[in-house]
Symmetry: C2
Amino acid sequence: MLPHLADGEQIEVGPGDDAAVVRLPSERLVVTTDTLVDGYDFLPRTTAGRWIGHKAAVQNLADVAAMGARPVALVAALSAPVSTPASSFEQLTIGLAHRAEADGARIVGGDLGRAQQLTVTVTAVGALEEGRPAVLRSGARPGDVLAIGTDRLGRSAAGLALVLAGRVRVDESDPAHPGIQLEGIQDPAAADLVVWHNAPDPQLSLGWTAGRSAHAMMDLSDGLIRDGGRLAAASQVAIDLDEQALAPDVRALAPLAAELGADPWQWVLHGAEEHAMLAAFAPGRVPPGFRVIGRLRTSQAPGRAMTLGGRPIVGEGFDHFG
Amino acid sequence: MLPHLADGEQIEVGPGDDAAVVRLPSERLVVTTDTLVDGYDFLPRTTAGRWIGHKAAVQNLADVAAMGARPVALVAALSAPVSTPASSFEQLTIGLAHRAEADGARIVGGDLGRAQQLTVTVTAVGALEEGRPAVLRSGARPGDVLAIGTDRLGRSAAGLALVLAGRVRVDESDPAHPGIQLEGIQDPAAADLVVWHNAPDPQLSLGWTAGRSAHAMMDLSDGLIRDGGRLAAASQVAIDLDEQALAPDVRALAPLAAELGADPWQWVLHGAEEHAMLAAFAPGRVPPGFRVIGRLRTSQAPGRAMTLGGRPIVGEGFDHFG
């Protein structure tokens, strides 16, 4: 696996000793950790080693980015059954390293062990410059606009719906270029949705560039309603989502939703694992890369009050993991 | 779990946002990650939640210490079956936090998820001051002495032997004070050996105090022969272990070994999971807290040549995980 890890001038001691030594741009460390487990966070034969590594990187890189910081380094702990082929570890490492490197970060260490299920725990670190505040969830104000750093919401949820409907098989015969095979699906956009679910590729650099001017920011990991509710609760505001702003996202998913008998609004509002930056800005101060999808107002009562087109949202606060 | 985590002036943003923000003593980050998995790294009913957390902390803190750095913060990813009682997470968190705090470090974030087996992945971070070199495995020189930062080796292996012999039950009726029950064992020291195996408690501060003057250092995680061989290989030296220096360790374990029909030298030479600091110093420059157990000489050929009392060591290079 080591040959797949790029060097970097920030790495003083790389993998192979007791710990790695990395030079950060400042003393203010940003750190987060997240796990993917086979059978819970992904299903075998519907994804590929490269994509698992990519997704494990993204979900951690996104958390660092959402603080307004640029990721610098990652460490990865992989546990797997004894029967796991070495090539799986290799592909996973490549997927992890390539996605991290795309944002300028490096894999600097790890741990390999046994488990009944393939388990990937990544920890990502970055740093905040002196004098620059961390962008918290709690800084949004009534009158701010809510904006999202992606052109399309709901893609990961749509891909997951195809996986859960049993329509997806992955062809890993060329592990460097895994392919999606769909059964009985007409929508030509569907395969890309499964790829996005398996390996979401949000523009994370928005977090440490344009997003730094946000009053509040987080990454969209558990869906717009659930995560928006967290931002609203932390900032003690309520959110009015703009139905027209989200309509293009819904229209793009409508053909597939019709085939599966699903509601595309559910994917857009509740779909998890997008990892785009969700942020609150002063009105008129929304930077390029973000689009406005709602507005924040004073919260009359504690809680997660959210509306869509002026109406309360069905399923608000629904706990996907409860 | 959050109420069990101590605050600290180095914590700018603690658990609850996308990532934590921690002020390090310098920009030179030291980072390591390690995993414990139920059924592989510990056996249910022979250990306790507090001890699992304690051990997960120690094995990561030790890796930071072995670079000559003081640990500052930890993040922990816990995955577990749905049936896992909340109290298990709580006890594990307390064990993790207390051991980290004993060395001045804090738990600043984490992740909770599902898995078939309880899995604990901890990442520990520290920092090295400007101008202070990291203490690598590769800096030992012929003529150096080999020293270990513990009074006793082999305790964890002896405790494991009791576990594997089926003699151990744990009483967690008071989870804050788990107890060991041994079946058919006379040696009054035996219960403490199981506790040490479940929750090893090495003096890690030696790593970032006295150990900073070492030419090479690592923590003893896989046994004296295996880890000593790694240090020797990295430094391109051979190791002559001093039989007399290790004899007291063997004598202390001899009564239990006789009861179990085991060889106490195996525990002392090959026993894993001690996590004491193993270091090479210039002769006559061994600091308090370390005791000399061998000497380094020129390696005639590449490899892990090690001797004990002038004789080659049986089982040298044996891979416990192969």
